[in-house]
């Protein structure tokens, strides 16, 4: 038949301008390389019960000991917690918690007795804990000026906009500016050991070594090369809620101003609304005596920090030191359970493998 070949033959038309310039002289034959032909040597794992069996058993065998180790470590950590918020009427700090005023010059103190039934043998971390305090509030987190804290002299007097409305007070720049600094925890806590004969022996608390080394030595710096901090902070005012200016935080010049470790610790905003922050370290004095022997103690609190506005709680935590941080059995339990589940799954897979596994290697045609 001629017809099919002739239809619409006389239509002139389309032109491919895009096709121009292709080197017609050179052969268009594609190169025969493994990459271009998609023949790169490949490993094609097929996840089947048989092939993953060992993985499950290995996970089980590795995880369970880790979990046990973690659990044991966690349970060996000793923690003692005292809530001193003063919500109950019976609490020694009830009065202080009720009458709070940022501007009162007379500190309200209260003393909480407690009894340690076990001694702490090695160094002890003393934390203060706040709950329901949203240090991770978005605007709160941003309300700081890191350049100022790094000792930048221009930023010192011109705090960043992020600090608003805590950047200027009565037209003077605030140092350190921002909401985080402004709301700094300012209770002072003292620990006394009460001798069996009734005398209060203060427990020596070390206030250094509680912040990250890099924070203290790199990120936070006092402004200028001026060793006299009073002069260095000339022209700035203290944050509204503070009782003392920043250069009077501590008498030790190495722990004063922006590099005051309590300040640095506070400035590392907590991730979750219930948190603890390292307050002091109780160093072990000599090899024989326990750091905190068993007995009666008293926690003296200069109650400055209000938490009633957000229904918060204030705690003091005494914790022994371990590599895994605070006492938390969760991870250990998790490891043990995951390990066990994997081990169990391994057994199930073994069964499945036994039942279906021969398929791939023998006649699967019957399925």
């Amino acid at each position: 038949m001629m017809a099919s070949g002739y239809n619409a033959k006389d239509e002139d038309g389309h032109i491919a301008v895009a096709g121009l310039g292709g080197g017609a002289l050179r052969s268009r034959k594609p190169e025969n390389t493994a990459f271009k032909q998609q023949r790169l040597p490949a490993w094609q794992p097929v996840l089947t019960a048989g092939s993953v069996l060992p993985a499950f058993f290995i996970i089980g065998l590795v995880f369970i000991p880790i979990g046990i180790g973690l659990y044991v470590t966690s349970s060996n950590i000793r923690e003692f917690e005292i809530d001193y918020t003063g919500v109950d009427v019976s609490s020694p700090c009830f009065n202080c918690s009720q009458n709070f005023n940022w501007n009162s010059t007379k500190p309200c103190t209260c003393s909480i007795p407690f009894y340690l039934d076990q001694s702490y043998e090695s160094n002890v971390f003393m934390y203060y804990g706040l709950s329901n305090f949203y240090q991770n509030h978005r605007r709160y987190v941003k309300s700081r000026d890191d350049s100022q804290l790094n000792g930048d002299p221009t930023e010192l007097t011109k705090p960043s906009k992020e600090c608003e409305p805590y950047a200027f007070h009565e037209h003077k720049p605030i140092a350190p500016c921002g909401a985080i600094a402004n709301s700094m925890f300012n209770d002072s806590l003292e620990l006394f050991y009460i001798d069996p004969n009734g005398t209060k022996v203060p427990v020596p608390l070390s206030s250094t070594g509680i912040a990250w080394w890099t924070d203290k030595h790199v990120k936070f710096r006092n402004p200028g090369g001026n060793p006299n901090l009073t002069a260095a902070f000339q022209g700035t005012v203290k944050p509204v809620n503070w009782r003392r200016p920043v250069y009077e935080l501590d008498s030790d010049p190495e722990n004063n101003g922006f590099i005051n470790e309590d300040f640095i610790v506070w400035m590392r905003t907590a991730a979750l609304p219930t948190f603890r922050k390292l307050y002091r370290v109780i160093q072990k004095r000599n090899g024989l005596m326990p750091t905190l022997p068993r007995g009666n103690y008293s926690l003296d609190v200069h109650y400055n920090y209000p938490v009633r506005s957000f229904e918060g709680r204030k705690r003091v935590i005494l914790s022994s030191i371990s590599w895994m941080g605070g006492k938390n059995p969760f991870l250990g339990i998790a490891y043990v359970s995951v390990g066990s589940v994997c081990f169990f799954l391994g057994v199930v897979l073994l069964f499945i493998h036994h039942k279906y596994g021969n398929r791939s290697s023998s006649a699967d045609m019957s399925h």
Binding site: M2, R28, V218, L272, L331, A334
Partner: protein
């Protein structure tokens, strides 16, 4: 330029607009105005000949590109978000940082666009700089100009083998007959030469000093007053330029098709948006409740700058927007860019596939549509053309019947059939090679093995008898152009003419001839035209013809009938259709050599060596209504007026002389008809050859009528056809020919494989049903034991059952049903009331064959099936008649074959062989689909898993839209750490090896219909994302709860867990690991640690200073990361393990087999195939009952007819 008032300029511009828009275009020669200022030029309103295909200009690239990009809704959305960042009350990040992702994405796209545009610019520049010769009245000769400087109204001289610079009006040629031949391969791909005549009524006076032209003609754009563009060669008046040429006007640019996957993807994006809004509303409500629950203003609540606090409701309203900004990544900003990159990569691999490369034509697959690669993996219906698609469209003369006597050409015939076809083919090819050593390889197929009996018959007779007439008819009755094999596609050897010497260029021809080969898109002039160098040269023209005649094979054969200047073996025939060429070659093989053809004469060399020059009185060209063509010649010896006609058998048989008269004639006719039927059954294309001797008087009277018809103004076409019909009566049958259109390589295998892959193959052809059915059997579309339903208008009252197999074993198994429909019946079936029934019937048929369908019907069938059955369709064809169908289907595949480039131009993918479809669909289609589907699902998962961490954190920060990860790191997370692996996954993953996909076509079915990317898989992965984010958040949460951890120290393990989970998730999904995969995955992890560590050190203002460093010395960090990752991935891992172990989906089986040794694997494939094949038979038995609806259908059809 003299000063013109602005008003005058505006007037001028308006006049120009009018001049361009007018239907009638009055052109004035530029010559009298040469050298005048631009504004005095009469043709100044027309655009110049420069081609500009670039989209942008250097100056306005950025605004224009941005404008283009903002047409995308997604981009607008993201810019909107970025702007939202600058609203102070809602800002979640530093606004500048929020701009980074959208800027990066816009920049990436802009770079891609700029690069594409630059390539276009370079090719334009190359074209615009091509030289051509334009007459200058100052210089009094043709001067060389660049293409872009050619203006409307110029006189252009084009020489032999030049590329035509613009649409031209042919005024004069060096040929005495005013004829030239052009090749339009670059326009439409047709390789035959087309004849163009100089405009009649143009008087050209050429003197040594000037050219004067008087043109009494008006050219209308669109509809040319001259019968079709009588353009090209020699002095032309340029009438359309550059952007206004037909070619440019017809070039509509690439179509934008949207793949099915992309449409589904958009639905899922909307789901994501809904999800995002839900999460934001939860956040906003949560914030409100949180604020409300406070007894008084707490310390940590920071007032606004002016010291007041927003009310809880206002604040939570703001928080809604902050949440959108925080969680915006849930709608994957980079997904669209990633998909584009993946598709580019996929296309790179497709075009580089050696298996899709055809040595013979030096062509690889061309992917014209860049965004529908994955549709290749979902095809359910293939609509194929027959001629040129399934077959080679290289015609081979097979058999003939002369005067009712059959000459079977057994030597040919024995290669036609038999199971060992491939082997025989080989022998056949060797034989052909022996015959055709001197010919270029593409001519081999046209060679004929002679039938000895017929040869003796011819040799034995000297007088002009029917045999000679038959072969003379073969030689004469055609439109074949004779050219020289040696001169083909070559330029006239460089003669340094006056012009060339004038120009300073060393040898412009060299550059030109290389450009001739390079330039892909321009009309090229071919050899057989003698060239003339300049107007001054006219006096020596005769000489120059003689000089160049030897090289260029002038059409103007010396009339003196002496021995030909060239040996007959070197003749090269250029035919409009391959059938014609085959017949001319046959005639040549039997000694009747077509020596030359001019509009007025045909010269044929007889076996005796004598040359006869027939005067051509008229040529009644082919048209699809008459289905025949005739040539009216005057015999040089007998001076008889003879009409040779050839055409479709039914078109000729009706016109035979006195069908009830002479017994002998009648017998011949009936014998020939018998032979024809036999040929058709063999799948040959049949033609009848007839002759008629006219007496002079008869001719004279007809010629007058013919002249009237030709001169008529109205209804010209019809009159011309009528006059042709008038003379084509009372023909005397000479014989019939059978020409084979050979099947392409491994077509049956491909068709079988495609059908096993669950693809229904339909063949839509313009051929006769007999031929089509035969080809159907040959290419295994129809099987011997199929039930073939033949539907045609003739047998409306009953339907024919053709069960060819009488094998008793097949009695119990109902054979598969195949449907054969012819065009007229199809028209009825497509009527609205029968449509549904037809579709219903067709769905149950294993294969459908539509014969004698028009191009329009082809596209209607495709549309009908696509819309009614909601299936993915692919149309494959090679000719202009398939263009409609190719455009109607979801994917159009063009085969760059014998019939020109129109199908290729319209197609989405252009291949050179039908068999390439197999690998394109089964391997690349499957891969592209599964890769992209998995990549998109993964992308949604990835973003959701990462963003949900932030969402869970909101429950612990008072829904204040805070993030525990530094915003820079969050942006890097998506932009750097996790962007490359999914792209690599989308480009390079291989679920099953190519060998398996080809070996087990059933695997293709997994992509059909819904495939891997469905509603179900999307939500499963979203659920998985939620689960994993819960794990990644709450394991660290419970671990660090109540401790002294700070925000960023808490965020670091979360981010790390998220990274590991996301990358290991991908590792589970990756089916084949190569060195590239390992490198990229490890690279991403390394990059994460390097960037985060460096960021923690370098950036002092970062509140999370030294965080990762501090975490990395803490063993808890590793313990948390380890267990979270394990718990997060356990379900998915287990799911895969169980899926692979328990279920037996074909893909899983294939992957199992893939791990085996190649040899055993092949063994398995064989066994599996035999097993599957049986099952398939059975299922199809069940699904295809001989439905009673068929009879109803027939009844209905009958009613329609009544």
């Amino acid at each position: 330029m003299p000063w013109m008032s602005p008003l005058a300029r505006i007037r001028d511009a308006l006049a120009g607009q009018r001049a361009r828009d007018k239907d009638l275009r009055n052109l004035v020669s530029n010559l009298p105005y040469e050298g005048l200022d631009k504004w005095k030029q009469p043709n100044r309103h027309f655009r110049n000949n420069g081609i500009k295909t670039t989209k942008y200009s250097v100056l306005f690239f950025i605004p224009m590109n941005l404008f283009e990009q903002f047409h995308r809704l997604a981009n607008l959305y993201f810019v909107g978000l970025a702007i939202l960042n600058f609203v102070p009350v809602v800002q979640a990040f530093e606004p500048e940082v929020a701009l980074i992702p959208i800027c990066v994405i816009l920049a990436l796209t802009a770079i891609k666009d700029a690069w594409e545009d630059f390539r276009r610019y370079k090719s334009d520049k190359k074209l615009n700089r091509l030289p051509c010769f334009v007459y200058s009245s100052k210089e009094k000769c043709f001067v060389e100009k660049r293409w872009k400087d050619v203006r409307v109204g110029d006189f252009v001289k084009v020489e032999s083998n030049d590329i035509v610079p613009a649409d031209l009006l042919l005024l004069y040629t060096s040929d005495p007959n005013g004829v030239c031949h052009i090749e339009t391969a670059n326009l439409d791909g047709e390789t035959n030469l087309k004849q163009r005549r100089a405009v009649p009524g143009v008087c050209i006076t050429v003197s040594n000093t000037d050219i004067l032209l008087i043109i009494h003609a008006v050219i209308r754009t669109g509809c040319l007053g001259f019968s079709h563009p009588d353009l090209v060669l020699k002095q032309h008046l340029v009438y359309l330029k550059g952007h206004e040429t037909k070619a440019m006007l017809n070039n509509n640019g690439p179509r934008y098709k949207r793949s099915r996957l992309e449409r589904r993807l958009n639905i899922d994006v909307i789901f994501c948006i809904l999800l995002l809004f839900t999460m934001c509303i939860i956040g906003s409500l949560g914030h409100y409740l949180w604020l409300e629950s406070m007894p008084s203003v707490p310390l940590y609540l920071v007032p606004q700058t002016d010291g007041h606090l927003d009310t809880p409701s206002l604040s939570s309203f703001y928080k809604f927007f902050s949440m959108i900004i925080l969680l915006q990544v849930l709608i994957p900003i980079s997904l669209y860019v990633s998909i584009e990159l993946v598709k580019i990569g996929q296309i790179y691999f497709i075009t580089n596939d050696l298996d899709l490369y055809d040595e013979e034509t030096d062509a690889t697959i061309q992917c014209k549509a860049l965004n529908i690669t994955e549709d290749l993996g979902q095809i359910q219906y293939i609509f194929s053309d027959k001629t040129g698609t399934l077959t080679e469209n290289k015609m081979v003369f097979r058999r003939c019947s002369i005067m009712g006597r059959e000459y079977p050409h057994k030597e040919n015939g024995m290669f036609l059939c038999g199971p060992k076809r491939a082997l025989k083919m080989y022998i056949y090819k060797i034989k052909i090679l022996m015959f055709t050593k001197s010919l270029p390889p593409n001519q081999q197929e046209t060679e004929v093995i002679l039938d000895q009996k017929l040869l003796r018959q011819i040799r034995g007779t000297e007088k002009i008898d029917a045999y000679q007439d038959f072969f003379l008819a073969l030689a004469i009755c055609n439109t074949v152009v004779v050219s020289m094999a040696t001169a083909k596609r070559l330029r006239v050897s460089a003669r340094l003419t006056a012009e060339f010497q004038q120009t300073n260029q060393s040898n412009p021809l060299d550059t030109l001839s290389s450009l001739v080969r390079r330039a892909g898109s321009w009309t090229r002039l071919r050899a057989p035209i003698t060239s003339e160098t300049s107007a001054n040269d006219l006096t020596t023209q005769g000489q120059s013809v003689n000089q160049t005649g030897g090289q260029t094979c002038s059409l103007h054969v010396p009339p003196q009938g002496t021995a030909p200047a060239v040996p007959a073996g070197k003749l090269c025939y250029e035919a409009e259709s391959p059938d014609e060429a085959a017949l001319v070659h046959t005639a040549k093989a039997y000694g009747f050599v077509l020596m030359s053809r001019t509009p007025d004469s045909v010269t044929v060399q007889l076996p005796s060596g004598a040359q006869l020059r027939f005067e051509v009185l008229d040529t009644l060209s082919f048209d699809s209504n008459r289905k025949r063509m005739s040539v009216l010649v005057r015999h040089p010896i007998s001076k008889q007026c003879i009409l040779y006609t050839k055409g479709a058998d039914y078109a000729i048989m009706e016109l035979l002389e006195t069908p009830y008269g002479e017994k002998q004639q009648k017998a011949i006719a009936s014998d020939t008809q018998q032979h024809l039927d036999c040929y058709a059954k063999e799948g040959l294309r049949t033609l009848c050859i007839a002759k008629k001797v006219l007496c002079d008087g008869e001719y004279e009277s007809w010629a007058v009528q013919r002249q009237h018809a030709l001169a008529a103004m109205d209804n010209r076409e019809q009159l011309i056809m009528d006059s042709a019909v008038q003379i084509e009566t009372n023909l005397c049958l000479l014989g019939a020919t059978g020409v084979e259109d050979r099947l392409q390589d491994s077509v049956p295998d491909t068709v079988m494989t495609l059908r096993e892959a669950g693809i229904q193959v339909w063949v839509l052809t313009g051929d006769k049903p007999e031929t089509a059915v035969n080809i159907g059997y040959a290419c295994r579309l129809l099987e011997q034991d199929d039930l073939v339903i033949n539907m045609s208008c003739k047998n409306l009252c009953y339907w024919e059952k053709q069960s060819c197999s009488a094998d008793p074993r097949n009695v119990d198994t109902t054979p598969d049903i195949s449907l054969v429909i012819d065009g007229r019946t199809l028209t009825m079936l497509m009527s609205p009331d029968l449509r549904d029934r037809f579709v219903d019937l067709a769905r149950h048929c294993r294969s459908v064959l539509c014969c004698r369908v028009t191009p329009l019907q082809k596209s209607e069938v495709v549309k009908l099936i696509r819309e009614k059955l909601k299936v993915m369709t692919l149309a494959v064809g090679d000719g202009a008649n398939d263009v409609n169908m190719i455009q109607a289907a979801d994917i159009g595949v063009g085969i760059s074959g014998q019939e020109g480039m129109q199908a290729v131009m319209a197609s989405d993918f252009a291949i050179s062989r039908f068999k390439h479809l197999k690998k394109l669909l089964l391997v690349h289609g499957h891969w592209c689909y599964s890769r992209l589907a998995n990549m998109i699902i993964y992308f949604f998962y990835k973003n959701a898993a990462n963003v949900n961490l932030l969402f869970w954190y909101q429950f612990f920060c008072g829904f204040t839209a805070n993030a525990m990860i530094d915003h820079w790191l969050m942006i890097f997370f998506n932009l750097l750490f996790t962007s490359v692996p999914p792209i690599m996954f989308g480009i390079m993953d291989k679920d099953v090896s190519a060998e398996m996909l080809l070996g087990l076509p059933e695997l293709y079915r997994t992509g059909q219909g819904k495939g891997e990317y469905s509603f179900f898989t999307f939500w499963i992965s979203m659920l998985d994302a939620f689960y994993q984010s819960l794990v990644a958040f709450f394991i660290p949460y419970f671990t660090y709860r109540g401790s002294d951890i700070d925000i960023y120290a808490f965020g670091t393990p979360l981010n790390t867990i998220s990274l590991f989970t996301i990358l290991l998730h991908l590792s589970i999904e990756i089916k084949a690991w190569t060195i590239v995969h390992v490198f990229i995955i490890l690279g991403s992890v390394t990059l994460y640690f390097i960037v985060t560590l460096a960021y923690g050190v370098r950036y002092l203002n970062y509140s999370g200073y030294w965080t990762l460093q501090a975490q990395m010395v803490d063993p808890m960090f590793y313990l948390v990361c380890l267990i979270s990752t394990v718990i997060a991935l356990l379900p998915r891992y287990l799911f895969h393990v169980l899926k692979n172990s328990i279920t037996c989906s074909p893909i899983v089986e294939a992957r199992h087999l893939d791990t085996l040794e190649p040899s055993t694997r092949d063994q398995w494939i064989k066994e599996w195939r035999s097993f599957r094949g049986r099952v398939q038979d059975k299922t199809s038995d069940v699904s295809v009952p001989p439905s009673p609806s068929l009879e109803n259908l027939q009844d209905d059809t009958k009613q329609v007819k009544l």
